[in-house]
């Protein structure tokens, strides 16, 4: 790598919020034990308390999403009695009741599923867009790279929530598939369309870092196609940083979904969603704070689960931090 490439790469890394180690000169990967990156990483993860906290929270959240009935303590979120309206939390009903007199724990628990669907779906869309664009830009370089990088800059200049807000607001009146049907898929797609840029930059910098390696030249000399070189030889190098990024991003996008729903353009009633619950509770913050606080708490724990796991993964996979 030239100094210039290294400087570029370092800049990409700073913007992407991850470090890969590849931008630092002379990382000696050949010496030392022959353990693979992944087994070393697992050894370090096993000893990380924060990783276990994150994992337990994430497993809990996935169980909430898959089997909400288990956690609703026998209550049905749609079986409401106005007589219970706004009752405070009690021993029988841990989260109290909402304004319509629905058991609030059941309501909040049933909100997990949509968050999980949107978080995972949006990250998948982000990865597809980011990996394809980043790989093409980094591998072919030159004018292709300039063009794709400028497109990335353009999207990067628009705040995620703002772009998704506009798209989802006008979406239902258009005939664009998915976007025109309000629901989890539309929200996920809108989030991905305005949130893929960091993934692209991350993959691009990884591709640039290894594309001039000897083994890539060897593969090319043997007549491998561009596609094969990219998929078999270059992209596997990007798996570790992309995995870290994707884990954290699930949390970030779940928070963004709640925000969009709160602002009125995400999921709509009668869907159970934390954003809608926070929105409904905000005017009652003075009299019934539990309406805002419980969905907020569960949402925060969910986001935290993915951020903790991602942070721990990053520490485990970054060879420079290992003693």
């Amino acid at each position: 790598m030239t100094d210039r490439q290294q400087a570029e790469l370092r800049k990409d890394e700073v913007e992407a919020g991850t470090t890969t180690g590849l931008a630092s000169p002379s990382v000696d990967v050949a010496s030392g034990r022959q353990n693979s990156l992944w087994s070393d990483a697992w050894d370090s993860l096993k000893r990380n308390v924060l990783f276990w906290i994150g994992s337990v929270l994430a497993v809990l959240f996935i169980l909430l999403a898959l089997l909400p009935g288990l956690f609703a303590r026998g209550a049905d979120p749609d079986d409401c009695a106005l007589g219970n309206s706004l009752d405070k939390p009690s021993a029988q009903h841990w989260f109290g009741f909402d304004q319509q007199g629905c058991d609030y724990m059941a309501t909040v628990v049933y909100g997990a599923r949509n968050s999980l669907i949107i978080g995972v779906l949006a990250v998948l869309f982000v990865l597809v867009l980011g990996v394809v664009m980043g790989a093409i830009a980094g591998y072919f370089g030159g004018a292709t790279d300039s063009l794709l990088s400028r497109v990335t800059d353009i999207f990067y200049a628009l705040p995620l929530v703002l772009g998704a807000l506009v798209l989802l607001r006008v979406g239902p009146t258009t005939n664009i598939p998915i976007i025109n049907k309000p629901g989890p898929a539309a929200v996920a797609l809108a989030l991905a369309l305005f949130g893929w840029m960091t993934a692209m930059r991350l993959v691009r910098s990884q591709v640039i870092a290894v594309k001039s390696a000897d083994y890539v030249a060897a593969a090319r000399a043997m007549g491998a196609s561009h596609r094969r070189i990219l998929v078999r030889h270059i992209l596997p190098n990007a798996v570790a940083p992309v995995l870290v990024y994707a884990t954290i991003t699930i949390g970030v996008l779940i928070a963004a979904e709640a925000t969009l729903t709160y602002l009125g353009v995400g999921l709509q009633r009668p869907t159970h969603s934390w954003g809608l619950q926070i929105e409904a509770g905000q005017s009652l913050l003075r009299t019934a704070p539990h309406l805002v606080l419980f969905p907020s708490l569960i949402l925060t724990l969910t986001v935290m689960a993915f951020i903790l796991m991602g942070d721990a993964l990053r520490d485990a996979l970054d060879p420079r931090q290992r003693a």
Binding site: V161, L162, G163, V166, R169, T173, L263
Partner: protein
């Protein structure tokens, strides 16, 4: 240096145009019919509708519409909203609120973030270091929406320390929303400072300063901190532009009449001209501050040369 700035300036033009076109296309090419929606339940008389369409160039092809828009834009004319009010007036009226919010946020971010980061960084793995690490992880995990309501509930309603809505109490009204808006970046500044300080504490020139017998405070402030703050200052600079996006949620929850709130209302009312005008302004800020930061980098750190 001059050539670098010129090149960077040239590169920002397509980004600015591209981003504003993107939002323009979404607002004006995708929606059903904002003009028909103006009439509400009753439809507008055809003559009135035609006049409005003409006034807003809605009959032209998209690129022509956009061309006309940019033509007006460079003359300082951002168009008018559906009630005939110039968009530039709305921006002039709303922008000071958002600027105040951003100033408060940046101050919180810089002061608390840097102090926490230095305390953590000078003794790595010490007690304060762990406190800062855990608390920044927690803060980063709390969505700004949740943080806003928790802050309103705890500091506004329970403790009664801060006003929670509107701008009636001058700068005091901006303290709580400013802190909420700054929280995520604050945590990042603290971590960045911590890493940077911890790294520089091991640098040769710091060892030299210690060996010379300088007092510890001088070693930290004059020798370590000055060099450690370069990445921090540049992050904070770039964050000024990015804060504008977070202002949408903060201004909505705290009921502040800034441009974030204005763009949100405009999106809901399908006021295309207002949306495009404000978003273009936000993108401009974002690009402008990033450019400043890139140049500042070279000024602050003589080891970096762009030519």
């Amino acid at each position: 240096m001059g050539r670098y700035i010129a090149r960077r300036l040239l590169l920002t033009i397509p980004v600015l145009i591209g981003a504003s076109f993107l939002i323009f296309a979404m607002v004006f090419a995708l929606p059903g019919d904002p003009v028909a929606a103006l009439g509400g339940d009753r439809s507008l008389p055809p003559a009135v509708e035609a006049q409005i369409r003409d006034e807003f160039n809605l009959n032209d092809p998209l690129l022509v519409q956009y061309g006309k828009y940019v033509g007006n834009l460079v003359q300082g004319d951002l168009g008018i909203d559906f009630s005939q009010r110039p968009v530039i007036d709305t921006i002039e009226q709303r922008l000071p609120v958002t600027v105040r919010l951003a100033v408060v946020a940046i101050l919180f971010e810089a002061i608390i973030g840097i102090v926490a980061g230095v305390l953590a960084g000078i003794r790595r793995n010490g007690f304060l270091d762990n406190v800062v690490l855990v608390s920044t992880t927690l803060i980063v995990s709390i969505p700004i929406l949740v943080l806003a309501f928790v802050a309103q509930f705890v500091f506004g309603l329970q403790l009664g320390w801060f006003p929670i809505s509107g701008t009636s109490e001058g700068w005091g009204s901006f303290l709580l929303p400013g802190l909420v808006l700054a929280a995520g970046s604050l945590a990042y500044v603290a971590r960045l400072t911590r890493t940077s300080v911890a790294e520089n504490m091991r640098a040769d020139y710091v060892r030299t300063a210690k060996a010379k017998g300088l007092p510890r405070s001088r070693v930290i402030i004059r020798h370590t901190l000055r060099n450690s703050l370069i990445p921090v200052v540049t992050f904070i600079g770039a964050d000024i532009g990015a804060l504008m996006g977070g202002a949408i949620v903060t201004e909505s929850v705290f009921n502040l009449p800034g441009i974030g709130r204005a763009v949100f209302d405009a999106i809901n009312n399908q006021e295309g001209a207002v949306v495009v005008g404000i978003v273009t302004l936000m993108v401009f800020f974002f690009i402008f501050f990033n450019l400043i930061v890139d140049v500042l980098y070279a000024v602050l750190d003589p080891r970096i040369r762009y030519d």
